[in-house]
Symmetry: C2
Subunit: 441 residues, 2 copies
């Protein structure tokens, strides 16, 4: 049931508090995020923190219906905190905990809670010791990071001087303040914040994400119209660069998980040939695992992607036991000298051709001594011969044979290169899982 603020006149509100009634009912709590920082409004920073926190709240079964973003301004921050408090038991601020005069979050929180500010001398001494160890002079302003609204408790930050804090309120909720730098914020989420909040949710959400390549979002969704409309579990498609993810979600209890499992089976029965993995598994990981299992190795020959395939594969720790390396052949001379592409190919069909892609893949395989060679050559733009912008050939040389497939990608240079990398990995994966279909999908 919804209880939205009633507009009593244009631009005038009376927001109904929803806190007390719900807090006493034992239901899952509601949280509201307030992202603080003028740089967020100016667009100099993209709010990745709020997205990461949103994911966690869903996992922990905490309702989350509104997010606010305000600049470094105490009046507007107080206003946002009050509005959030009227709608949610748990209010979480991100940012504004640093030592400078712009960092106002702790003072705004003390104000809305009507608590005095207490300076924690133990924290002051720790900060002073830290500054000393770095050889940095202590200035009085730094002491602000030791200020805590009365009744609050610190939340540890392993990667910075700004501690978070939690001020519990009588309804079982509270206000949580977290620092903004992502390298401090994100580790706190999966450590102390998780400990603090997880028990305050209802039945957490159980999510299973299936990852697909070689099929578009609408075509995939059209295979399961009844599932896409279901409520238990919900099934939602997400288009990612070169991939589609289907997220199946239900309550994280026995029946909910069982429903998710059944729907996963239904989906795999119909579209399993395009499903390369689940949850956090990435396509490079799956490819490296398949190669490792067969005791095989891989080399690449990259023209228009300039190293992008190698970079993706080597994101995975331990790639070196199957990925031997490759040649970035950005000029014809390098294609000829280092991959053995015949001059007749370069002068005939040219560097963007079936023949060249095949020769590059064979060259990578043979010259680097790998089981497989994977090549890409194409016109990423903006310059390209008439009608050939986005034309990309992907070549694959396997233990027995070599061939190439032509793709026509739309979009700007960045998009064509991204798609070329994704498609090269997709083609390789398809060949590895079903060698007879190599190159024909």
């Amino acid at each position: 049931m919804e209880r939205v603020p009633r507009a009593t006149a244009r631009g005038t509100f009376l927001c109904q508090p929803r806190r007390t009634e719900r807090a006493n009912s034992g239901e899952a709590m509601h949280a509201e995020i307030i992202s603080v920082g003028t740089e967020l409004l100016l667009g100099d920073t993209v709010d990745t923190n709020a997205a990461a926190l949103g994911q966690r709240l869903a996992e922990w079964g905490i309702h989350h219906r509104h997010r606010q973003t305000v600049g470094d301004h105490q009046g507007r921050l107080v206003e946002a905190l009050r509005l959030a408090q009227s709608r949610a038991e748990i209010v979480i601020t991100i940012g504004g905990l640093g030592p400078t005069e712009d960092d106002l979050t702790r003072y705004a929180i003390a104000e809305i809670l009507g608590r005095p500010m207490v300076r924690d001398e133990a924290v002051v001494r720790r900060l002073q010791a830290f500054f000393r160890s770095r050889g940095v002079a202590w200035v009085e302003l730094n002491g602000r990071q030791a200020d805590l609204p009365e009744g609050g408790e610190w939340v540890a930050n392993a990667n910075g001087t700004a501690l978070g804090f939690w001020v519990p309120t009588e309804d079982g909720g509270g206000v949580l303040a977290l620092p903004g730098p992502p390298n401090e914020f994100l580790p706190m989420l999966d450590g102390p914040v998780r400990e603090l909040l997880r028990g305050r949710g209802g039945v957490p959400l159980y999510r299973r994400t299936l990852r697909f390549v070689g099929i578009g979002e609408s075509l995939l969704a059209a295979q399961f119209p009844e599932l896409m409309e279901g409520e238990r579990p919900t099934v939602a498609p997400y288009a990612k660069p070169g991939e589609v993810h289907l997220r199946i979600a239900d309550a994280d209890d026995e029946t909910g998980r069982e429903r998710v499992r059944q729907v996963e089976q239904l989906i795999r029965a119909k579209a399993g040939e395009h499903c390369y993995g689940a949850d956090e598994e990435t396509l490079p990981e799956v490819i490296l695992s398949l190669l490792r299992r067969e005791g095989q190795t891989l080399a690449v020959a990259e023209s228009c992607t300039g190293g992008g395939i190698g970079a993706r594969l080597t994101e995975i720790p331990g790639a070196s036991d199957v990925f031997v390396g490759g040649v970035i052949s950005y000029t014809e001379a390098v294609k000829h000298a280092h991959l053995g592409v015949p001059e007749a190919v370069l002068n005939g069909p040219g560097a963007v051709s079936n023949e060249c892609a095949v020769a590059m893949a064979q060259g990578a395989r043979d010259r680097l001594g790998a089981t497989w060679g994977l090549s890409v050559t194409g016109y990423a733009g903006p310059d390209a011969p008439e009608g050939r912008l986005g034309e990309v050939w992907i070549g694959l040389a396997g233990p027995d044979r070599a061939e190439a497939v032509r793709f026509a990608f739309r979009g700007d240079r960045r998009t064509v290169r991204l798609r070329a990398v994704s498609q090269a990995l997709t083609s390789l994966w398809q060949a590895l899982r079903e060698p007879a279909r190599m190159g024909h999908s």
Copy 2:
């Protein structure tokens, strides 16, 4: 002067409208963004659109103090729209304009404006023709994308079926609805949205961004304490991966631009040796330009970065006239066979050493026939010999000589690799602009 909602009791608000008084005064208007979509709250999508729009609002001189994010829920969307209307003349929604039942934005806007909804039959016919041309069946639901609140006007979308729309209000502002997919949203920003909104701002903001490498944020800021506190212009540092950007901003009029120019000169006089470019210029672009000017070429030899340097350089259109390519030498065998790293080096100091980095850079330069060879070899983790995690050697072979420098990066595998790529480009840039200092910065 601030006019924040007055809290009349805990959780209860009376928001003072600020619209009429300001609209009649000729001041710059205020805009408020509402990002719509459950996927934003769940964290499945990061809100890059709102950041891009925030940048434009600042450039157009439109004030922007609050942002709200709500899910696909008409009641909450209406509530958010009313709150935004109470604080800003221009309300901009992002998302929720698609044809499905979840897409509620146009109906919520009609509701708060008290306007009936009108179906534009010309748009229906255009949509039907589009679906026919794609061989996709027309379903009645698609007609929703032709629904417009009375008095509204369409805003063109060159990249999708969801048109935007603008409904003017009597105070000179209005409500603007824009579609959520970034590839549709972003081109609209710099086309029709710019035309619509630019004239509604005050004096636009003039920004100049100076880009630095080889110096940290705090060290850079500490050189100009008086500038960092200035108001006209404001100077703000932003830490980016491997770089620091200083943004100088003032009014976009003659005196404002002149103040920015003077401050830029002051900054360059003190820290110019670290400043590689300005505004949208990237480090790879500057490097390629420097090489092109000298008629020189570059080859890379990448170990732990796996192709990441090549990928960064080839993001730039036309890289091929100076970047010849490289070798991804992920194994010792490839380092030896394709870059000529002596076995004595691999068996002695090893693959992560001064000697190996130098030999790799020389091998890239000589074997690929370039003026410069740039190499990277290191331990990105998570596995590494005791105490050597994050140790990265960057080698540079120039026309006359070759040498390598050792770096110790902190962070996880992703961070170490990112920093290695940034540092390799930085080292190359420093050598190119001042060859005598090569490798010693």
